[in-house]
């Protein structure tokens, strides 16, 4: 066994596994400041009453940046071994697949249960512009017949 390999065997295993992640205290402080600022930005933006889609997109984007900073710097994912990255890619792909499938299912159910105009259901046949509710609605109750004069008794 060569001297280099023997040295690797004699060295504490955990220490050699951590040599890639030499702590950088200055960077940690900068990330901490960035996370605090981004938190305040998220809260401030939520007070602006943006339309829901824009607000959700913005909130999600800021949360993703914050999560990336924590994962990349604090969890040392930047510079981590590729095997860990592969684990996370697979996990992320399955989580994404799960979220998309379920969300798509929820959208489908919503579409199936909401009332659609007849014309939208049969566009090729030029259906009438009458909603389903109107099409299946019962006719309005007939107005009460006007009272007529009592007929005389039949003789």
């Amino acid at each position: 066994m060569s001297k280099k390999i023997k040295a690797a065997h004699d060295a504490p295993a955990e220490r050699s596994a951590h040599d890639d992640h030499r702590p950088d205290v200055g960077l940690y402080i900068k990330v901490f400041a960035a996370l605090m600022v981004l938190t305040l930005v998220t809260v401030a933006v939520s007070k602006l009453h943006l339309p829901r889609p824009q607000a959700i997109a913005l909130g999600l984007a800021v949360a993703l940046v914050k999560a990336s900073l924590v994962g990349g710097i604090f969890m040392h994912l930047w510079g981590e071994k590729k095997l860990i990255h592969k684990f996370l890619y697979v996990t992320g792909a399955f989580a994404f697949l799960f979220v998309i499938t379920m969300t798509d299912g929820a959208l489908l159910v919503k579409k199936m249960t909401q009332r659609m105009p007849v014309a939208d259901q049969h566009p090729d046949e030029g259906g009438e512009k009458v909603s389903v509710s109107e099409a299946v609605a019962l006719p309005p109750p007939a107005a009460p017949a006007p009272k007529t004069a009592k007929k005389g008794k039949a003789k």
């Binding site: 280099k4 390999i5 690797a8 065997h9 504490p12 295993a13 955990e14 220490r15 050699s16 596994a17 951590h18 992640h21 030499r22 702590p23 205290v25 940690y28 402080i29 990330v31 901490f32 996370l35 605090m36 938190t39 998220t42 809260v43 939520s46 007070k47 829901r52 607000a55 959700i56 909130g59 999600l60 800021v62 949360a63 914050k66 999560a67 924590v70 994962g71 604090f74 969890m75 071994k81 095997l83 860990i84 684990f87 996370l88 697979v90 996990t91 992320g92 399955f94 989580a95 799960f98 979220v99 379920m102 969300t103 299912g105 929820a106 959208l107 159910v109 919503k110």
Partner: protein, 196 residues
């Protein structure tokens, strides 16, 4: 013998078994919270109305808790830095700070829950509150788990034999990874429940 084995002789992947185990555990945790977030999305899409967080929950307290949790992420990574340098006192100081912040988070959360219960709000009040209590409750349980692990590490650090153990630094890093994951979950929970 190839270079990978030379990097870390106890594995064939170049990654210690403990670290690999923690990452696999975190992958399963990602799926757990993915199911909860999916439930949140589906229930929200199916709801006829969804309250604005500022009206339904205590946003200032939740913002304070966010700041507390982010701070605790920094203190635990500082504890790791001190453990890396074999600085026993520094490690104990930063780990104690992490524990103090963890308890502070739970105390603030308890105030928030207490105020809601006083108003008669419970998980059965509405779909929104059912989702809110389930997700924040599970997150709170994860905080408790982290407190137990970090307390154990703080206790272990008082004994010199652990500092001489080659696996001690890996344990500190594993606990840190878990704690950062809990922080990331809150980073998404906070806007999803309180702000959007």
């Amino acid at each position: 013998m190839n270079a990978i084995i030379m990097d870390n002789p106890d594995t064939h992947s170049g990654i210690s078994n403990a670290k690999l185990g923690v990452w696999l555990f975190l992958a399963s945790e990602v799926m757990l919270f993915a199911t909860l977030f999916t439930s949140y999305i589906v229930l929200r899409m199916g709801a006829t109305s969804w309250p604005w967080g500022w009206d339904a929950l205590n946003v200032p307290l939740a913002t304070l808790n966010t700041a507390i949790l982010i701070s605790s992420s920094v203190t635990i990574v500082m504890a790791y830095a001190k453990a890396y340098d074999k600085d026993k006192n520094g490690f104990q100081l930063w780990m104690a700070a992490t524990l103090a912040l963890s308890f502070a988070f739970l105390v603030v959360k308890a105030f928030e829950y207490g105020h809601e219960f006083k108003l008669g709000i419970a998980p059965s009040t509405s779909v929104f509150y059912a989702v809110y209590f389930t997700m924040t409750g599970l997150h709170g349980i994860h905080i408790l788990g982290g407190i137990i692990v970090n307390t154990g590490l703080l206790y272990m650090s008082t004994k010199d034999e652990h500092w001489e153990h080659p696996l001690f630094l890996g344990r500190v890093e594993g606990a840190g990874l878990y704690w950062h994951f809990v922080d990331i979950v809150w980073i998404f929970l906070f806007p999803a429940l309180y702000l959007l």
